[in-house]
Symmetry: C2
DNA sequence: CTGAAAGCTGTAGGAACTACAGCTTTGGAG
DNA sequence: CTCCAAAGCTGTAGTTCCTACAGCTTTCAG
């Protein structure tokens, strides 16, 4: 089906993968995506392999993996057989990061709820509960380090 | 009690508030913190008002408010009486952002759990489930935009 | 009085892009 | 075949929120 339209310019790749043109060029620049063939006029021409690799990158970025970690994961995926341990370690560490972030955001959510509902938006009612809450560290649950 | 030691150099302010020296100078540079008095030798000398304002900034940053929003909140807190509406709007908008972020992270958590447990870290068992999961967008719950 | 610690300015870096400016190439319409 | 707008190119600068020098000067405890 796509046997005949196998190569595409950067714009089409961008459209297909949902990664912006500039970002694709950036990934090439930092070595995440290998430099593709070029047309006579020096324009990038991508094939299936590039599209797949970019999809991998996009997916991992959407999951919040750092570019450095993605670099490692890509290296591992290029190494056949070995090195699953390392991929596992990266994922587990990242999962932990995500969980920590969630916990932190939950506590922020609580405090923001408290702050936002205390002052309901009227002019007369407060002066101003939100600003006071932010000024006064005492009321909130954050511990001093 | 602190009647006599009312002014302090930047290092002490940093220690008290938990904000790094460089960051304090940065806040001054971008106009969040007003320029303090200087000593004969041109060093910054901070008083109580500065410490309070910086605490406000720190607290808001810890809550994830963007510097731009903090700038607005500070402007409001300098305006007596009026403008509670705006502070309320900023907080509510920020609360919504936080909630969205939490929701997104939860779905990432689920997918990472799935990915990380599929491949338990052995070498023989997979080749490699994590990498396949990242390469293959089909299995995950993210909708195409 | 001295000298190590702390402060100063100004600039560069970092993460992960995004957005120009000023050009060249491409590919479909006429 | 010719034209020209859209898309691509390179290279640089901007974004956000700091952090980290380098190369000085000031401070204040011993």
């Amino acid at each position: 089906m796509d046997r005949l339209e196998r190569v595409m310019p950067i714009g089409s790749l961008a459209e297909r993968t949902g990664v912006k043109v500039e970002t694709i060029r950036y990934y090439e620049q930092v070595g995440l995506l290998p430099p593709p063939e070029r047309s006579e006029g020096n324009q990038r021409r991508y094939g299936r392999a590039h599209a797949e690799r970019l999809a991998f990158i996009k997916h991992a970025r959407d999951l919040g993996f750092a570019v450095e970690n993605i670099r490692t994961l890509l290296r591992l995926s290029d190494t056949p057989g070995i090195a699953c341990d390392e991929a596992h370690a990266i994922s587990v560490a990242h999962l932990q990061e995500v969980r920590d972030k969630i916990a932190k955001l939950r506590s922020l959510e609580k405090e923001l709820e408290r702050i936002a509902t205390t002052c309901s938006g009227g002019v007369a009612a407060c002066d101003c509960a939100i600003i006071e809450a932010l000024a006064d560290h005492g009321q909130c649950s954050h511990a001093h380090h």
